[in-house]
Symmetry: C2
Subunit: 337 residues, 2 copies
C-alpha cells in the first residue's frame, strides 16, 4: 500500500505515467479482442460516434484531451449476431456536494467523503465486451476490466481495479465450461492461489438473478474494488486477465459455430437472452450506475443488450432435456475444476 501511495502521490508525471500504462493495457485488450473477433467473423466492427449529454452528466466539462470514449458494434456478422464493445479513458471532476460512496466510486469499506466546495478530480479507464453468437450452441460471453481513481488516490480505497469474464450458454457443454474456467484459473494462480476461488465465488454471487433464483450463466471470475496489493502488482494481474479472454473464449465459438441447430434451439436461446436482459435491467451495477449517473449515453449502456430476446409464460423445459439440465446447473453453481 505504501508503495502505491508513493507511486500515485508525487511527482505528477509519475502518476500520469501509471495512468498511461493502465489505459494502454485496456486499449490493447480492446484492439486485440476486436481483431480476433473480426478474424473469426469476417465482418468488421463499426465505430460509433459518441457524444456526452453535457446537461445530465455528473462529470463536469473539465475532461481533458486525454478523454477517449469509443463504442464499437458488430451487428449481423457471419458468426456473431450482435457484439457491443467499448473502451473508455476519462479524466473528469466530480461536482461538489456529491457522496463518493453513493456514486459507486469508492471501494467497499472506504470512508465516505462528500466533495466540499470544490470538485474532486477522478480518472477512470476500462474496456467491455458483450458477445452474442448466432449459433445457440455457442455461449454468450461478457468481459470487462476497469480502473478507477479518485483525487490523487492516496487515501485508502481511493483507487481500485474491477472486472472479470463470464459465460452464458443456452446449451451446456461441460468441456467448454472447464476450458473457460481453467484458462482463468491459470492466470489467477500465477498471481495468488486465493484469487480463483475468491473470484469464481464472486462471479457466481454477482451474476445472480435473484427473482429467478438462478445464475445468469456458468460463471467465470469477477472482482470489484480490488486494491489489496500495489498498483503495479494488480496491473500485472489484470494485464494477464485481459490477455486470457481470447484464448479462453474464441476456441469455444470455433467449436460450436457450425453445429446444426433447430428452431427450438434458437427459441431457447432467445429465452436465455430474455434472462440476460432481466439481469442487466434489475441487477447490473454498471448499467444501473450508467443510467442513473448519465455518465454515458443510454445507447452505450445498452450496448450490452442482446439481440432478439423472448419471453413465454411457461418457459420451464421438459424434464430430462438439455434445457432442463442447464436450468439445474443455473440453480446450483458448480465447481468446474
Amino acid at each position: 500500500m505504501l508503495e502505491i501511495i508513493e507511486t500515485l502521490e508525487k511527482p505528477v508525471h509519475k502518476e500520469q505515467n501509471m495512468h498511461g500504462k493502465i489505459q494502454k493495457v485496456f486499449r490493447q485488450m480492446f484492439e486485440n479482442t476486436c481483431q480476433a473477433i473480426e478474424q473469426l467473423d469476417g465482418k468488421k466492427f463499426i465505430e460509433q460516434p459518441w457524444t456526452r449529454d453535457k446537461k445530465s452528466i455528473w462529470i463536469s466539462g473539465e475532461s481533458s484531451d486525454d478523454t477517449v470514449y469509443v463504442d464499437r458494434v458488430l451487428h449481423g456478422g457471419n458468426v456473431f449476431e450482435k457484439i457491443g464493445v467499448n473502451y473508455v479513458a476519462i479524466k473528469g471532476e466530480m461536482p461538489s456536494g456529491m457522496s463518493f460512496q453513493k456514486s459507486g466510486a469508492l471501494a467497499t469499506g472506504a470512508a465516505d467523503q462528500v466533495t466540499g466546495d470544490k470538485a474532486t478530480p477522478y480518472f477512470a479507464t476500462g474496456t467491455s465486451f458483450v458477445i452474442h453468437p448466432h449459433n445457440p450452441m455457442a455461449p454468450i460471453a461478457h468481459v470487462n476490466y476497469r480502473f478507477f481513481q479518485l483525487g490523487d488516490g492516496t487515501q485508502p480505497g481511493y483507487w481500485w481495479f474491477g472486472g472479470g469474464a463470464d459465460l452464458t450458454p443456452a446449451y451446456l457443454f461441460e468441456e467448454d465450461a472447464v476450458h473457460f474456467h481453467k484458462a482463468h484459473k491459470e492466470v489467477c494462480d500465477r498471481h495468488d492461489p486465493s484469487y480463483y476461488p475468491r473470484f469464481k465465488k464472486g462471479c457466481d454471487e454477482y451474476f445472480h438473478i435473484s427473482h429467478r433464483g438462478e445464475s445468469r450463466g456458468i460463471g467465470g471470475i469477477f472482482f470489484d474494488h480490488l486494491n489489496d496489493r500495489t498498483v503495479e502488482e494488480l496491473l500485472s494481474f489484470v494485464t494477464d486477465c485481459t490477455e486470457a479472454f481470447v484464448p479462453a473464449y474464441i476456441p469455444l465459438v470455433e467449436r460450436r459455430k457450425d453445429m446444426a441447430f433447430t428452431e427450438e434451439n434458437k427459441y431457447w436461446q432467445c429465452i436465455v437472452r430474455g434472462r440476460y436482459v432481466e439481469f442487466i435491467l434489475t441487477s447490473d451495477r454498471g448499467a444501473r450506475f450508467g443510467l442513473a449517473s448519465g455518465m454515458v449515453n443510454v445507447q452505450s449502456v445498452f450496448n450490452c443488450m442482446p439481440p432478439v430476446a423472448d419471453w413465454k409464460y411457461d418457459d420451464q423445459p421438459t424434464l430430462g432435456t438439455q434445457e432442463a439440465m442447464l436450468r439445474e446447473v443455473l440453480k446450483t453453481p458448480r465447481e468446474w475444476l
Copy 2:
C-alpha cells in the same frame, strides 16, 4: 368516507357482500375481454395452472377458499402474437412485523403502521391484460383494475381502487389515439369532470421511461390509491372503466390487423417492445412489487412481457420518418382531445 366505513365496518356479511360485488366486476371484465379477444382472433386462451411458492410469500397460508388466481395466455394467435391475462381475488394475512407502507399496501399519505404481534388480514382483487398484436400497425394495449383493503378497511387510506388503460403504438395513427382517449374521457366525465385530466396526466407521469426521457406510449388513464368517494361510487366508476376497454381498443386492432407492413416495420415494433421491457423491469410498480414480495410466481409477473423484443446500438430513426414522429410524441406527451 363515513359511508364507506359504515359499509365496510360491520356486519361482516355486509363487507363480504361488497368484496363479492367488487371481485365480480373484475371477473366479468376478465371473462368478457377474453371473449372479445377470442372472437376477433379465432384462437382460444390457454389457462395456466397456478401454484404459490409457500416459502417466499408474505401472505401467510391463511388464504381462504375464496382465493382465486387465474393466468391465461394466448401465444401465436391469428391476430395477436402474445397476450398475458390474469384475474385474482385473494384473502390473506400480512405477517406480523411488516411495514404496510413499504409493502405498497397503503394509500399514499395514509399513516404507516407496522403489524404487531398478530398478522393483519387483507383482501385484494383485480384483473390485468397486456396485449401484443402481430401487426406493427396495431398498438400494444395494457389495462388493469384492482381493489385493495387492509384489516376491516375502517382506517383512512386502508382501502383503495387503482388501475387504468394505456396504448403503446409502434406506428402512430392519431385517430386511434383520439378514439382511445375519447372512450376513456367519456367514462371519466360521467363520474367527475376532474377525473380525465387528472388520470390522463397520471398516466403520462407513470408510464415514463426516465432513462430514455420518453413516455412508454401515448397514454390513456391511470390512477392509484383512489378512495376519495364512497366505495359504491368508486366501484360504479371502475365498473364503467372495465366496460370501456373493449370498445376503446378492439376497433383499433380491427382497423390495423390486415394492413400491409414491411420487415423494417416489424423490426421497429421489436425495438418498441424492447422499451416496454425496460419500463417493466426498471419502473413498473406492480412488477417490482410482485418480484420483491414473491406474492405471485415470476412467470405470472412476467406474463406482461412482450414476445420477441430487440435492441440495437443506434435506434434513432431517420428524421422525417413515421418512426421519428412517434419518438417526438413520446418525448412530449400530447393532449389528444
